[in-house]
Symmetry: C2
Subunit: 141 residues, 2 copies
DNA sequence: CAGAATCCAAAATGATACTG
DNA sequence: CAGTATCATTTTGGATTCTG
């Protein structure tokens, strides 16, 4: 059990190759990609603006994710030969082809999130009710 | 710069709360969940069978992912009081509601995978052509 | 059979300082 | 401005052993 010689990596690659869903998720997955893609769906954007509007992202992550998206052919990087430098990012045609999928995911996500939200609240209410019952039980036998 | 007290965790939660897509991805994401969900879309399945048909998954991961899916209300765990024990897993109604989304993701994934595949081959052909040119160039000035 | 528990490796993310 | 480089930390995944 010295080296696992990346069974991990191997498993990942295998699954990506067989399963379309896994492949898609590996492309749009990661913590920040959904947000970046969402923003770029509305039009091109400069690097600095992206950094400022995405709350909490580090420069390292932003560049990294952008580079991956670029490598996957979803995002185009446009460099203007100016000073101070200016770089814009925009979706390619292939990137735009994700729109229906992204909307489908987003819709289900919001639906599920809302549902779980209310369930949680119900659970909390139940717990509260239980505690209340205990307390009251002691007082009113 | 001692403790980051999980800015990581915080960022994740924030994004999940704001962005439907990120929330959905955190639910169906992970290396094995797409495969598990895909299998369960075809009907209920026993634990052992899941383990056997998913190539390369470890028991730990299988149980872990199933538990998460259960917690998120997508999968139901059915225990039969028999010996030897028997446990089956099936999608809940909420789990089934993912079907259109999953198909949309899978379709795009396969499309994108195929496209990148051919692009890679084209690149390889180009490289090959270049090398060939170099070799031939030396021979036929 | 279906898993729980433990321990370790690898990948993802974050903070920060520096540069053309 | 738009990054790059480096290092620390957090999270995820895998192997193995044990149990009701």
């Amino acid at each position: 059990m010295k080296k696992m010689n990346s069974t991990n990596q191997h498993n990942l690659e295998t699954i990506r190759a067989i399963c379309g869903t896994a492949h898609a998720l590996s492309v749009i997955g990661g913590r920040w990609k959904p947000t970046i893609l969402h923003l770029l769906l509305h039009g091109k954007m400069r690097y600095g603006r992206l950094r400022r509007v995405i709350p909490g992202i580090s420069e390292r992550m932003l560049v990294l994710q952008l580079r991956e998206l670029e490598k996957d052919g979803l995002v185009r990087r446009i460099v203007y030969a100016e000073v101070p430098p200016r770089v814009e990012y925009e979706l390619t045609e292939e990137g735009l082809s994700m729109k229906p999928m992204l909307e489908s995911i987003s819709a289900w996500g919001r639906y599920h999130h809302a549902k779980n939200q209310t369930e949680q609240e119900e659970n909390e209410e139940e717990e509260l009710a239980k505690k209340l019952e205990q307390v009251l039980g002691d007082l009113t036998p």
